[in-house]
Amino acid sequence: MCSHGCSNTNSKISHHLCSKTSFLPHRLDQFFIHVSNSMYNLVTRLQTVSNQALSATAVVSGIIIVLTLIQLVISNVWSIDTTSIQNIKPSASIRNSFNYGSVNRKPKENSKLSFDLDADLSPLFNWNTKQVFVYLTAEYPGKSSGSSNKVTYWDKIIKSKDEAKLHLANQKSKYSVWDVEKSFRGRDAILKLEWNIQPHVGPLIFGETTTTGTFTFADPPKKS
């Protein structure tokens, strides 16, 4: 633990060694030795305590992490099937603001959705769950081969098990989505409900529910 030799703090030895001399600090240098000795002991003790605290933190964290993972595997969280994503209605618009992806005021296609969603994410909550971040993503191909995109339409922070059952009807997407390219109308996308467990201590854990939904990016309304 303590990398350097520790001074002794045992009164028996002090007594043994000092048996020929008085303990009373009747001379100033004697007094200084006395003070510096107790300070020295205090510092070495502090060092030992902080070293032990560090090791204890590491061990406790390790145990917590292992127990949490075991519990999540037992609750089978990576195949939650109590989910449905339905009634997906995409819409589109043209935006010219930088905050909606437009560069130099060039028109940029933006996509929104409305959807129904049912999900029971309560298995994700256990004693080491600080929060669950749940997000609805759409994955779709790009123009060139090998290119792919994934965007978030909606997300939510769930802080407790009571809020973990989601029943959303005609929910509007939280974000207005644009692509790297000017337009992405007509492309097919796959919707997924994904989650991220934030533990009180330990690794971030990610997963997705088994249900998917599909839609095609809408054409923006023609200018009248």
Binding site: I13, C18, Y40
Partner: protein
């Protein structure tokens, strides 16, 4: 000089340090010359780790992480390799706690390792001679210091001399 300094009688570590620092005096009284090869090797290795770390610190500060990545890899490997060698010379049984290496006029080597345990005021000594003989001895600090904390070096000389004579008698 150090013989005039007082040592804190309540700290076993400080008692041991004082005696360790004065081993050379006692052994030269017994006709030994200290050899600094081991300690110089350790100092050289130790300072090369310090130079590597210090150099990397300033190089990294000047050029940033991405620019210096390859050099950082080399420096990290070198640092831990040298630390490993240093560890070999300080912590393997052969070298552990070695405080003194010396030769007498007949070129006979003597190696002295010393240590203390936490709660005992006892100076543990292991003397290894060039014939590979090993002497284990324990000296109480009470015999090596007076009640005020002044070190009595002639006491240690006497004790070591006695231990060495025991072996010589045996070998004869």
């Amino acid at each position: 000089m150090s013989a005039l300094k007082r040592t804190n009688l309540n700290s076993v570590v400080q008692l041991r340090t004082t005696v360790d620092d004065n081993l050379n005096t006692s052994l030269s009284a017994l006709g030994y010359n200290e050899s600094f090869t081991l300690i110089d090797t350790k100092i050289a290795l130790g300072y090369s780790t310090a130079i590597i770390a210090g150099g990397l610190y300033f190089y990294d500060k000047k050029y940033g992480f991405d620019e210096t990545f390859n050099l950082t890899v080399v420096a990290v490997l070198a640092y831990f390799a040298i630390s490993g060698i240093l560890w070999y010379y300080t912590s393997t049984p052969q070298y552990k706690n070695v405080k003194y290496v010396g030769f007498n006029d007949k070129k006979e080597k003597i190696t002295i390792a010393t240590w203390t345990s936490k709660f005992e005021p006892v100076y543990y000594v292991q003397i290894t001679t060039s014939e590979g003989q090993r002497i284990d001895a324990q000296f109480e600090f009470m015999k090596l210091f007076d009640g005020m904390g002044y070190y009595k070096e002639e006491q240690l000389t006497k004790l070591i001399k006695a231990e060495l004579e025991k072996v010589n008698k045996k070998s004869i």
